[in-house]
Symmetry: D2
Subunit: 345 residues, 4 copies
C-alpha cells in the first residue's frame, strides 16, 4: 500500500476557473498545497490565450472549462485531467477526443450535494411548519401563537416522501431522512430498481410517486427529455396539501401551471430555482402565501466552494502519484452531451 | 404472552382535559376506542363539580388535571391513573398522596418531542442558511442570488453542536442529527455521563459546551435552580457567529443580555419562546436581522395533540388489562414539585 | 439546573448482592465512588442477619434482593431504593408495601441488553453463514472452500426479520439491524402498535410474524401466560430454511418439538438457553448440524456486570441529590409478580 | 427523463463467464431478461474460439474475461463494454487499447461487498464472544455456562476499531458499524483524508491504527506494494487481546509472524484467507484456540453471485439505451495493472 513519488519536475496545472473564481474555490491552504506539488499557471487574469497556448503542450491538468477542440486536445500531449469546477459540462469541449486520448474528464457536482441536501431539508421543515411565514408575521406584528397558526403543520416523521432524480443531490438528501422513518418513493428513469432498493428506497414510476407523496423533492437535472416533466397534468396528481420542494432544475417544471395551483391553495411549495433569474420584480410568485421563496441559494455556500478546491488538490495529488481520482466525479461519455443546465452567472 | 380480559363492567374514566380540549387531543377514532372500552364521563362542559364528585369514587382514571387534594384522592378508591394531558404538572394535585395510594401519575410531555425536534432542526437550518431572511427579501424585491447572500452560510454536516438539557426534547432532537456526523456536547446536570455516552454524545460542562458550539440548542425545562442559566457571562462564552436555537424555556435565558449581543452581531439566534407572550408589539427583537422569530410554535401541532389522545387510550387499555402503561411517562416523585414551566394559555 | 448537596451524614447503603458478587458488579472505581458518597454496610460475607437488622432502620438503599416482608419494610423508615442486581424480581419481597411506602424498586435488566443484542446478531450471522460449522470442520480437516459450503448461506441485508418480545433486549437488538435495511415484524402482546411503529418496526400478530420471518429472534420474558408459546404448531408456521435465534427464555419454547424439526432439517437454530442447564451430556441437541449451540452466554460478560455497578452508583448518587434515578429501571407494579424467569445459578 | 429505445436489431452479447459459471451468476429471471433484450452468444461450452471469433466484430458487449489483445479489440468495432464477472482483473486483456477505443471496462467487485461485510461482522462478534469455541465445546461436552467462559468477552459497542483498506469492502463493513457507536480509524494510502472523514471515520496512519485498535479489520487488496504489510513488527503494535479479522488478502500478512503471536496468546484472530488454499492438513493454525478458522467463505454466496448477473443485465440494459452503467464498477486505468490478487479456483 505504498507508492513511489517521482523526483522529476513538478507537473504543470493550467488554472482557468472562470466562471468560478480562484479564491472562491481554493482556500489559502489548498492553494499552498497545489503550489507545493504542481507548477501552477494561473490564467485567471490572463488578457488572452497566449499563456494558455504556451503551456498547453506541457499541461498535466487543466482546471476550468476553456474551449478545447480536437486540435487543442491533440496538442495537449501530457494532459491527464480536465477538471470542470463550475458544476455543469458545456459543449465547448470535444469530449470524445478527450476520452479517446485517455484524459480524465472530471466534474465537481458532488461538492454542492451536502449543501443542497441540508437546504432542501430546511425548506421542507419550513414548509411543514410555516417557519418563514411566521417569522415574517412577527416582523409586522401579525403573528399567531402556539397552535393558532399551526393548523396545517405536519411532521416529516413517518411521512410519505417522493424524490425525483436520484443523483448526487437525491442521494445526499435521502441520507438525511434516515432518522425520520419516512417511506421514500424514488423516480429516476436512468437507474435500475436495485440501485434504489439498496439504499432503502422504493423505486416507483412518476405517476405513483406524485400520487403518493406528502413531500415531493425535485432534484432532477435538466435534460433534452425532461422539459416540463412537471406540467399541470402531473402536478394535479399530487395529494391536496402536498409540500413541493423545488431546488433543481427550473426547466423540469411548468411554472405557469405551478403558480396557478399555488394560488388556488392546492399545495404548498418552496422554490429555489426560477425560469429567469433574477425573478421579475412583478412576478406573482412574490406575493404567494404558504410558499417559501428562495433566490437560488441551495448550493453556493463557502464550504461547498472550498470543497471544490480541496477535491481538485486531493485528486491531482493522487493522479500525480499514478492513482485514480476519488473525490471528483468522472463524466459519463454517454451523458456529457445531454445536460441542459445553464451556467450560473 | 397472553392475558385475560375481564367481562366485568367497563372501568370509569373521568374526562376533564382543560386547559386542553377534548377534540383537539382525541381524534374521532381515539374517542371511539375509548368509549368502546370505558365508561367515559365527559366533564368538559360540566357547569360545576357535581358530576365529578358523583363519579370520583368509581373512577379508574382521571384524564386532565382537576384539583385533587388528599381528601379527594382518598375518596377515589378505585383510581389507578391520573393522566396529565397538558404537558406540565401543577401543584393543584397532592402528588404524595397519589403515589402512596398506588395511583399512576402520567404525563404526556413526550407527545411534543418529535414536533419540537423537527421544528428545532428547521430553525437551525434556517439560521445556518438564511432561509426566512431571503424569503422576506423576495417579498420586497431585495433578494440576493446564489452566493451573494450566502457569505456566512454554514453546513450542519460535521459541525460542533451543543445541547442544553437532555430530556425528551433533547433526545428526540439528537436522533435527527445522526446523518450529519456532528460532534455533540451535551450538558444536563440531572444525568450521569453514561446516559449521554450511550447515545454517542459527549457529556460536557456548561462552560465547555458553550465555548465549543457552533450550534447551541436549548431544551432545558425551567426549574427553581436554572433561572437565567444563560446570562450575559454565559452567552459571552459562545464563539463568534454561533447559532442559538432557543425553544425551551424562556426562563433559562436573560433576554436583555441576549438582545444586546444579537444587536451587536455577536451570534445568530432562532427564538420560539418569550418571557411574555405575546411579545410586545414594540419589542426590539422584532427588528433584528440574522434572527428567526417564532411565536411559540415548536410543539403544538395537530399530530402532537392527537398523539396525546392516542397515548391515553393505548395506556388506559393496557392498564385495564393489568399491564403497565408504556406510552405516557410516569411522573418522577422527586421532580414533580420542581418544575416552573407556566401553562400555555 | 443546579442542585444543593447536603453536608449531612452520608446515606447508608446495605450491600448484599447475592447471588451476584460484589466484585463482579463493582469495579474498584465504582466501589470507590460508592464509598465516597455513602456509608456502605457490606453484607456479602455476613454470617447471619444481625448486621442487616442493625442497619435496616437507617438504610437509604438496599442493593440486592434479601427477604423483605412487610414487617422489615415498615421498619426501614429511611428506605428510598431497593435495587435488584441480578436481573429478575423474585417473590421474597413484598413489593406492594414497598411501592406504598414510596420506595423505588429498581432493576438492572438493561445492563445485559447490549451484550445480548450483540451476541444475538453474532448468532444470526453465524447461522446465516455457517461460521462455527466450518470452524469445526477446519479443526478436523473436513472444511469446504469458497462456495462449496455456502449453498444455503444468506444475507441479513433486506431479509425478513421477526422479533418476539420487544422489551430491553428486543429494542437493543433492533437498533443493530438499522444498517441492514431489513423488514422487521414485531410481536409483543404487552405493547400497543404505536410503540413499535415509532421505531420503524411493523406490529404483527404471532402467526404473521412466524409465517413471514427468515430470521426469528426470541426475546420474550417467561410469564405465566406464555409457556410453550412456540410449540410444534407455531414452529410449523416458519418458512423452510428459517433461522431461529433463541436467547430468552427457554420456557417459551417446546424443545421436543424444536428438536424434531431441527433433526428433519426444517430450519436452522442458534440456541443459548436450555430447559435444564447444564444440558445433559447425552442430549440429542449436541449432535445437530446446522445448529449453533451456546451455553447461556448471551448476557453475562464483564462489561455487562460492571455496568450494573456503575448504574447503581450513578442512580444512588442522583437519588441522594433528590433527583430520580435514570439508569436502572423502575419495576412495574403490574408486572413484578408475573415473571417466571429462574435465577441464574 | 425519458429516452428512446431503438427498434433496431438486438445488440450482441458474447457470454463467456469462465472461471465463473453462467448459471451461478445468472438466475433464470436474469437470463430471460438478457435474452429478451440482447442476442446472446453463449460460449460457455464452446470447444474452441471459432464462435467467439465469428461474432467478435458484432459484439456490443463481452461478459467474461477471454484473452483480448490489441488485435482482437481492434476487430471488435462495435464493442462498448467488457464486463469482468470474476472479481479480479488479469493481464490477458490489453486494457490500454480498450480504454482508447472507448470500451467500458467494468468489474463486479462490489457484488461481494455486502456478503463480506456481514461475514466480517459475524467473525468479529464470534471473536468478541467465543461463539464458535463454545459451540465446539458443547459438541464434546466441555462447555462452560454463563460467565464461566466469558471472562475475556467484550462488546463491540463503543470499541476502538481499525480498518485497513477502504474500498468496497471496507465501506460496506463500516456502514454496519453505525449502531455500535465505535471509534473507527481507517488506513488507506490511496485515499485523501476527506473521503474518510465524510463517512464519520478518522483517517489514520498504519501505526496509529494498529496501536489503537481493539478490533482490526483487514480489507486491503493485494498490490505490488503491500506484501507483508502486517509483518511481525506491525503486529507487535497491536494492543494485548486485540481481535484481528482477516478477510482480504492473505498476501498482506506474514502468516508465520501471525501464527507465532497467536500461539503466544498475544491477540485473537479470525482468518478467512490463507497463503495456500486448501490449508495443509497439518497446518498448526488448525489447532489454535481463541481463533476462528474459515475456508475463504466471506464473499462467495448465492446472493452475491446472483447479484453479478443482475448487475450485468441492469447495466447492459442501460448501455443499450445510451445511458452509463451504474451498478458495475468502471476499472481505473491507473490501477488495472496493479492488482496481485489471485483468481479463486
Amino acid at each position: 500500500m505504498t507508492d513511489s513519488t517521482s523526483a522529476s519536475p513538478k507537473p504543470v496545472v493550467l488554472l482557468r476557473p472562470a466562471p468560478q473564481k480562484r479564491d472562491r474555490i481554493f482556500t489559502p491552504e489548498a492553494l499552498a498545497r497545489l503550489d507545493a506539488a504542481f507548477t501552477v499557471i494561473d490564467l485567471e487574469d490572463a488578457p488572452d490565450d497566449a499563456l494558455f497556448e504556451e503551456h498547453l503542450q506541457d499541461a498535466f491538468a487543466i482546471v476550468g472549462q476553456p474551449d478545447l477542440d480536437a486540435d487543442r486536445l491533440t496538442r495537449a500531449t501530457s494532459l491527464k485531467a480536465l477538471i470542470n469546477v463550475e458544476g455543469n459540462f458545456f459543449p465547448n469541449v470535444d469530449y470524445g477526443t478527450a476520452f479517446a486520448r485517455g484524459v480524465r474528464v472530471l466534474g465537481c457536482g458532488s461538492a454542492y450535494s451536502q449543501a443542497v441536501a441540508e437546504f432542501s431539508l430546511g425548506l421542507a421543515l419550513d414548509l411543514a411548519r410555516g417557519i418563514s411565514g411566521q417569522d415574517g408575521a412577527m416582523r409586522d406584528g401579525s403573528e399567531k401563537y402556539v397552535s393558532e397558526s399551526a393548523g396545517d403543520a405536519i411532521l416529516l416523521h413517518r411521512a410519505a416522501v417522493g424524490i425525483l432524480g436520484y443523483g448526487n443531490l437525491g442521494r445526499s438528501f435521502h441520507r438525511l431522512l434516515q432518522p425520520f422513518h419516512t417511506t421514500v418513493r424514488i423516480y429516476d428513469p436512468w437507474l435500475p430498481p436495485a440501485v434504489i432498493q439498496e439504499t432503502g428506497g422504493i423505486p416507483a414510476g412518476l405517476e405513483e410517486t406524485l400520487r403518493s407523496s406528502q413531500f415531493l423533492f425535485v432534484f432532477a437535472t435538466a435534460t433534452a427529455d425532461n422539459a416540463h416533466l412537471l406540467d399541470g397534468t402531473a402536478l394535479d396528481l399530487l395529494p391536496d396539501g402536498a409540500r413541493i420542494i423545488l431546488v433543481s432544475r427550473a426547466a423540469v417544471v411548468d411554472y405557469d401551471a405551478l403558480l396557478e395551483r399555488l394560488q388556488q391553495g392546492r399545495f404548498l411549495a418552496a422554490i429555489d430555482v426560477w425560469p429567469t433569474e433574477p425573478l421579475p420584480k412583478d412576478s406573482p410568485f412574490r406575493g404567494l402565501a404558504n410558499t417559501v421563496l428562495s433566490p437560488h441559494r441551495a448550493g453556493g455556500i463557502p464550504q461547498a466552494f472550498h470543497s471544490i478546491g480541496d477535491m481538485v488538490v486531493d485528486d491531482l495529488t493522487l493522479m500525480a502519484r499514478g492513482l485514480p481520482p476519488v473525490r471528483l466525479q468522472a463524466a459519463a461519455p454517454e451523458l456529457v452531451g445531454r445536460y441542459r443546465n445553464k451556467p450560473v452567472t
